[in-house]
């Protein structure tokens, strides 16, 4: 199984409530995926700054003095905001890659969850409600967000096996299903220089999209490519800095429901996840077609 929720806001007045709405949707999907949960939030952007969200199993020692060490290493001011096992590092735009290399030196074993101008990813093992509470996802605002509740099949129940996966700047992907050609595709993408950290099938899907977009494809074209190049079952929901996309494999045995109003576009593995959204009674509600790409842009 696995549960997916996603919300792309069109109405700016809802932005302060994004975290609250997504958290409720995520908790509703607990019985589809009680082993781990994660959320990607596209929040505010600061001019000339980028964000790196990192995770450590020993946050007390790992995050202690990290801002100072990075400031010294990069020769420019880096600030840190610690939230439980995660921390958001604020670095100058264009220094994200350098910061990532410095992190590998300074704090080996620290995981980079996401990097970009607006994206922050929080994910951990545990019940969705507990995970959302630890990071106070309810209190977060943003333009769009994607959440996932995991029932593991393809790889271990660990933080790095949880979704969303991010393999490119401001990109993320969540997945319900299982890919069967992920090993061969992982080797091919690694040969082309794409960074893939885990043994997880979904991360290969995310890396594939990143690789396509690096080679000039739009989000829509990259999603079209999954239908040709990925083998297996998938419902993908993806986020970019200003976009939100959905694609299902041609067999489409994994459930999916979408809703759209003047205020938002929402995705749920089941209709249950959408029932408390504002104006859902009058929303356009539909099941996304198999092998069909849907995407929205701000």
């Amino acid at each position: 199984m696995c549960g997916i929720v996603g919300l792309f806001l069109k109405d700016k007045s809802l932005e302060p409530k994004l975290g609250e709405m997504l958290t409720d949707m995520l908790i509703t999907m607990t019985d589809r995926g009680p082993d781990s949960a994660g959320i990607a939030i596209y929040g505010s952007e600061a001019d000339g700054r980028s964000k790196l969200t990192v995770q450590s199993d020993a946050p007390d020692t790992a995050f202690d003095g990290l801002d100072g060490a990075l400031t010294e290493s990069l020769g420019t001011r880096v600030s840190i905001r610690v939230i439980d096992t995660h921390a958001v590092l604020d670095v100058p735009a264009g220094k994200a890659e350098e910061a990532r290399s410095a992190l590998a030196e300074l704090r080996p074993g620290m995981r980079v969850m996401s990097a970009g101008d607006t994206i922050e990813i929080y994910k951990e093992v545990g019940l969705p409600e507990k995970v959302a509470d630890r990071f106070d996802v309810r209190g977060m605002s943003g333009t769009h967000g994607i959440g996932h509740t995991r029932m593991a099949t393809e790889s271990a129940v660990t933080t790095e096996g949880a979704h969303p996966f991010s393999t490119g700047s401001d990109q993320c992907l969540v997945h319900n299903g299982s890919l069967s050609n992920h090993n061969s595709l992982r080797r091919k993408l690694r040969r082309d220089g794409v960074r893939i950290e885990s043994q997880n099938d979904t991360e290969v899907g995310a890396a594939y999209l990143t690789w396509k977009m690096q080679n000039g494809a739009t989000l829509g074209e990259a999603l079209e490519g999954t239908l040709e190049d990925l083998d297996g079952f998938f419902n993908f929901v993806v986020g970019t800095k200003d976009g939100f996309g959905v694609v299902r494999d041609p067999i489409a045995c994994k459930p999916a429901v979408m809703a759209e109003t003047e205020q938002y576009v929402a995705f749920g593995s089941e209709y249950r996840a959408l029932v408390n959204l504002p104006g859902i009674e009058d929303a356009k509600v539909w099941e996304p077609e198999p092998a069909t790409v849907y995407f929205w842009n701000h």
């Binding site: 489409a252 045995c253 089941e270 209709y271 249950r272 959408l274 029932v275 099941e287 198999p290």
Partner: protein, 227 residues
């Protein structure tokens, strides 16, 4: 008329109250409010009750139905009226995948669209879809009728046995061993009755009939060496 608030009182209470009537001839009416996409609403009924669900449901609504009439004033998730034996299930919105799967009798009416695998392995159920249906519908259908007023997706009736399919619109593709067949007077009669019972405004003459070419499931002596 009894009203049951599903959100306030829970699913088990509802299904046990409805199932307590099983075996009786009480023709009572029930209205279920706040379904909110819940699973397995009004399953396993076996009495001539009339159940109306005010809203959309999740998986397996009205599964294993016998005798009861279940109306959903909304859309349904996967597996509505799965393995229905008798009675009537009416969905006013759309139905997700495998609506009416393995159904052995009764009538399932979907007033919107049905997605993939509608009527998969149907064994005698009658299904009338006012809108379109998705891919792989009536896969391995054995008996019963699937009527579609709109269009059918890929691989209609793949590997079917003796189920009949009537489609008014286009068929994207036929599955293995499924062919178009002649519409004879007895088929017009069957269709006329089903359309009337499903409240569908369409003329039987507008439909085409499809069914098994009977090449796949009959033993052919020329293939003996393959075994």
């Amino acid at each position: 008329m009894q009203t049951y608030d599903l959100e306030a009182n829970g699913l088990r209470g509802l299904n046990s109250a409805l199932q307590e009537l099983n075996g009786s001839t009480n023709k009572t009416s029930w209205e279920i409010v706040n379904p909110k996409g819940s699973h397995a609403i009004a399953v396993g009924l076996n009495s001539p009750v009339d159940v109306t669900i005010k809203g959309s449901t999740g998986y397996y609504c009205a599964g294993m139905n016998q005798q009861a009439t279940v109306t959903v004033k909304g859309s349904v998730g996967p597996g509505v009226a799965e393995n229905m034996m008798s009675g009537t299930v009416v969905v006013e919105g759309d139905a997700s995948q495998y609506a009416g799967a393995t159904g052995q009798g009764g009538l399932l009416v979907i007033k919107g669209n049905a997605s993939s695998r509608c009527g998969i392995s149907m064994k005698g159920i009658d299904i009338v879809v006012h809108g379109n249906i998705g891919h792989m519908c009536a896969f391995m259908g054995q008996a019963g009728n699937l009527v579609v007023l709109g269009d059918a997706g890929d691989a209609l009736g793949d590997s079917c046995y003796e189920a009949r399919f009537f489609v008014r619109g286009s068929v994207k593709s036929l599955g293995a061993d499924c062919v178009e067949k002649e519409m004879r007077p007895e088929h017009i009669e069957i269709l006329k009755d089903l359309l009337a019972r499903a409240g569908a405004d369409a003329k039987p003459e507008e439909f085409k009939r499809y069914g098994s070419a009977r090449q796949l499931y009959n033993f052919d002596v020329d293939n003996a060496q393959a075994y």
